[in-house]
């Protein structure tokens, strides 16, 4: 074997450790006597190893919520991920039997709330990067206490409407929302709402305080997460999957 015999397929298999025994020995004999090829193979192995060890960047949790919102607006290949059509269906049982239609409506309403909150979620807390060019600053709408408050108020309005509608539908169809689920949901929402209130107060007194900004967005993210968990729970109930619904209720309760 000489240098010319080390074609790309041999080199790739060698570096990947996929040469058979005889070929491997043949190549190694050549490498023993050829410093250039030996150096090349060593470099290629270093690159291969470094590539495999490259960092894996993690996704932001809000990414899936954005995707859910986008998909909810899509015509589905066959039906929607969540049935958003409520007209004329309230008060009836689902065709599959057993699972009340209001649960689907609840899922849709809560998802609509998540969508309402999303514009806030997609906005990163304001940062102060002195090196950033002015044009970049101009390109993004400024995040102010007023804008955050207005957007939150709008989102909160959606949220309250969803809860009200949910309760109305639940009362009409089943007489009541499962008291245990409702209690846990309300308890968690109260805690999160308290955190949001405190964060907003802190932000109003110190608008440029990055900790206060982060606190508000963290609280809002928690609210979205709770709503998402509720949607998941409702989905499982819609499917009649009691075991999974129970597991998700436990998650919701934590």
């Amino acid at each position: 074997m000489n240098c010319a015999d080390l074609q790309h397929d041999v080199l790739v298999d060698l570096v990947d450790g996929r040469l058979d025994g005889a070929e491997q020995r043949n190549v190694e004999r050549h490498l023993d006597g050829c410093a250039n090829c030996r150096a090349l193979v060593e470099d290629l192995r270093s690159i291969r190893a470094a590539a495999f060890m490259l960092d894996r960047r993690e996704l932001r949790p809000a990414t899936f919520a954005r995707l859910q919102a986008a998909i909810a607006a899509e015509p589905a290949p066959k039906g929607r991920l969540l049935d958003m059509s409520l007209s004329g269906r309230r008060g009836r049982r689902s065709p599959g039997g057993g699972v009340p239609v209001w649960l689907g409506a609840a899922a849709a309403l809560i998802l609509a709330t998540v969508i309402g909150v999303l514009p806030l979620m997609n906005r990163a807390p304001a940062t102060h990067d002195d090196a950033a060019p002015a044009a970049a600053t101009d390109a993004e709408p400024e995040v102010t206490v007023e804008s955050v408050t207005a957007e939150f108020a709008a989102a909160e309005k959606h949220y309250q409407k969803a809860i009200d509608d949910l309760q109305t539908i639940a009362n009409k169809d089943t007489g009541e929302l499962d008291p245990q689920v409702a209690s846990v949901l309300q308890k968690n929402l109260t805690v999160i709402d308290q955190a949001i209130t405190e964060s907003r107060a802190a932000l109003q007194s110190q608008p440029s305080n990055s900790s206060a900004q982060s606190g508000l967005f963290d609280a809002l993210r928690s609210k979205v997460a709770l709503l998402q968990q509720t949607v998941e729970l409702i989905n499982e109930m819609r499917k009649g999957n009691q075991a999974e619904a129970g597991r998700r209720f436990q998650t919701l309760s934590q």
Binding site: H8, D9, L11, V12, D13, V15, A35, N36, A39, L40, E42, D43, L44, S46, I47, R48, A49, A50, A51, F52, M53, L54, D55, R56, R57, E58, L59, R60, T63, F64, R66, L67, Q68, A70, I71, E74, A76, P77, K78, G79, R80, L81, L82, D83, V231, E232, N235, E236, K239
Partner: protein
């Protein structure tokens, strides 16, 4: 996981998941997302070099998957199907970017880097930052094969299926990428000869 070795269990599980997605089961789509999103996010980010826009890119990919899920027939694994769709989307993004920047080329590929002849290794310990920069300089075709094979760990047969090329071409592209990266790390971008 390669098409020819797709087991009945894997194929059945994939078809079941697709069926649930088509039937409107939100948890099924979430399952697909959880299985592949982190890997696809990193792949798309490195493939396009659009590290700051990777969230949007990932959303586009999953929206495309949602729209086209009805075309999945189980001829390859669902993962392979999804990666192929993702890589096609990334290549479209790169082509559109080239067009906008006025770099009209007939091919997304470029000639090999000139070989570096040295009796001693020239790369040494490869830093993550240098390697990321070197990957950004690769022509799209060999960058795709390199990312799928060396970074993500797919076999050449799968890489071929994902990129619509033969197994041999996958090996060739991976080798080309490694040689260009070696050249970059040895000399820096200015000295890479095309």
């Amino acid at each position: 996981m390669a098409p020819s070795n797709l087991s009945g269990d894997v194929k059945g599980a994939d078809l079941d998941l697709v069926g649930r997605i088509r039937a409107g089961d939100g948890t099924a789509f979430e399952q697909l997302y959880k299985q592949h999103s982190t890997r696809l996010y990193n792949l798309a980010s490195r493939m396009t070099g659009a590290h700051g826009e990777a969230d949007d890119l990932l959303q586009d990919i999953f929206l495309l998957a949602y729209r086209k899920i009805g075309s999945f027939r189980g001829e390859s694994s669902l993962g392979t199907w999804l990666y192929r769709l993702a890589m096609n989307h990334c290549l479209d993004v790169l082509r559109n970017r080239q067009t906008r920047m006025g770099h009209q080329t007939d091919s997304l590929d470029e000639p090999d880097a000139a070989p570096v002849a040295s009796p001693v290794p020239v790369v040494g310990a490869v830093s993550r930052i240098d390697l990321e920069r070197a990957i950004d300089t690769l022509p799209p075709a060999c960058r795709a094969a390199f990312l799928l094979h060396d970074v993500e760990g797919f076999g050449h047969q799968e890489v071929g299926t994902m990129l619509g090329i033969s197994e041999g071409t996958s090996k060739s592209q991976v080798h080309k990428a490694r040689m260009r990266i070696r050249s970059y790390l040895a000399h820096g971008t200015k000295k890479i000869e095309n």
